[in-house]
Amino acid sequence: MIRDITIGQYYPGESWVHKLDPRLKIIVTLVFIVALFLVKDFVGYIVAVAALGIVIGVSKVPLRFMLRGLKAIFIIIIFTFVLNMFMTGGTEMIRLGPIAITYEGLYRAFFMGLRLVLLIIGSSLLTLTTKPVKLTDGMESLLGPFKAIGLPAHELAMMMTIALRFIPTLLEETDKIMKAQMARGADFESGSVFRRAKNMIPILVPLFVSAFRIAQDLAMAMEARCYRGGEGRTKLHELKFKKRDLAAALLTCLFLALIIQEQNIMAALMPTLASLASNLAGAL
């Protein structure tokens, strides 16, 4: 049940996507997210979906595994969809009493929902194909230049590693506590919203206690192994920018250009396409 949440999980693999430099993957993911907000029309979305589809295909992470991450935010997607559907003005399609669904609303709701789905899948692809350690190495290296202005890059990266590392642990812990309370007759599924919220107390209290205990144990274990921050710390695996990273970077540039220029390209292609179509019609 609760273990279905896949945010921050890694899917082991040997694919081309897995092997890319994490720094590049982080940047590509950011580019993809920005690109999603630049998309203006239908064709743009097709480009984005196709690009994501290709990367998923190459990564060999089963789609089913990725969709599972969506389950957790299903409510938010539905909410976005419904809100956009009813709140957008324009030509009416159906009217139900005081509320109306417009064509524009439906169009917008669909694309907002799609954007959210792409956003989640795109960013979970990053964590699914990158080991947490590599991810934070990449983070640290990308934040490196900001050390000059006093940004604690190493500490931030370490905090992120720990947070990522403990998401599954805390989920496991929640699962365990839920089971133990269910064995004592606790009921988490029925009753009013208020009741249900109150019923969460037997889970939340032990969970917090566990979280603090884990944090304390970890801090002690790190100190016992002489951890003392980033100063002078060397790496087991140095990050190297390889040929395949260059190829991926170029492909990303191409993708971004396509998204930005997509309307112009379509406009330029339109006359050719139209004449092609009429020629075809004439030939028939």
Partner: protein
């Protein structure tokens, strides 16, 4: 009431790269009033198995009969099953959450919908059964207790529900000898008074041999050996190959036998071992007199 488990299969994380087969066609029968022991190497599936017995985990396939009710069937009232089957989780102290020990122990009984008065009576009984003084502990915060006291409070929380089957998953792990003895006393008392089914998971062969009527040995999600302790623990080599061992008393007699002493049988308890050695020494003494 009896427990019958048929061809139970359970896979964790089905459909993910972390898939693992935790139970592989487990069959098991525990008769009414029996005290069963469940042993097996770390990760052999013991905890997974017992979590099925009160419907906390759902099997991929297979059936579980509690009495004549198949609890894996659709539409079974799981709350009813959970009332009947008390399960104490491994490291149960992490389930404590209330402000006071009293409230925490009363949590289970109140979930069953009984009155406040009856709940109080049950809390009193349960605390005294596990050996926590009501006056001293009832109003304390469970988070201020020591590890062993927390464990006892958690056990009280389960027995206060008056289950008809009590399953204890490593209840004594990490406790001092006195607390361990307390918990075994408690089990003996419950057994004498209520005649309920008890299932004990433990890595302590000596404990299992001493208290159980029947022992199940698990390995890699299967039950590979079962029978009365005297039979199971007579197969020392087999148990060792499964990452287990013999009770200390049996181990000692086994070693004496290997170094040439003619000892008849494998004892399960220290007392039995003492008897065997006494007899052996007496015989040896007689023989040397006869010479």
């Amino acid at each position: 009431m009896s427990i019958v488990v048929k061809d139970l299969v359970h896979t964790y994380g089905a459909g993910t790269p972390y898939e693992s087969l935790a139970l592989d066609k487990v069959n098991m029968e525990v008769a009414d009033g029996e005290f069963a022991g469940l042993i097996g190497h770390t990760g052999s599936g013991k905890s997974t198995l017992v979590q099925h017995l009160n419907g906390i985990l759902k099997p991929d396939s297979g059936q579980i009969f509690i009495g004549d009710v198949d609890i894996t069937a659709k539409g079974v009232k799981l709350t009813e099953i959970r009332r009947k089957i008390g399960l104490l989780f491994q490291y149960p102290e992490y389930q404590l959450f209330e402000e006071t020990v009293y409230k925490d122990v009363a949590f289970g009984p109140l979930n069953l919908g009984i009155s406040e008065e009856e709940a109080e009576q049950r809390v009193r009984d349960a605390l005294s059964t596990v050996g926590l003084d009501f006056g001293k502990f009832a109003e304390r915060s469970p988070f201020e207790l020591s590890g062993g006291q927390k464990r006892k409070a958690a056990i009280a929380g389960v027995i206060a529900m008056k289950p008809e089957v009590l399953i204890l998953d490593e209840p004594t792990a990490g406790l001092d000898p006195k607390s361990q003895a307390d918990i075994f006393d408690m089990m003996a008392r419950i057994r004498a008074e209520e005649r309920i089914i008890l299932i004990l998971i433990s890595h302590n062969m000596g404990d299992v041999a001493r208290v159980c009527d029947k022992v199940f040995v698990m390995e890699n999600g299967r039950i590979v050996l079962e029978g009365p302790p005297s039979e199971v623990f007579s197969q020392g080599e087999l148990l060792k190959s499964k990452g287990l061992g013999l009770p200390p008393a049996a181990e000692m007699i086994h070693m004496m036998r290997e170094s040439g002493a003619e000892l008849p049988e494998t004892p399960l308890t220290v007392d039995a071992a003492v008897d065997i050695i006494d007899e052996y020494l007496l015989k040896k003494h007689d023989r040397s007199l006869a010479h």
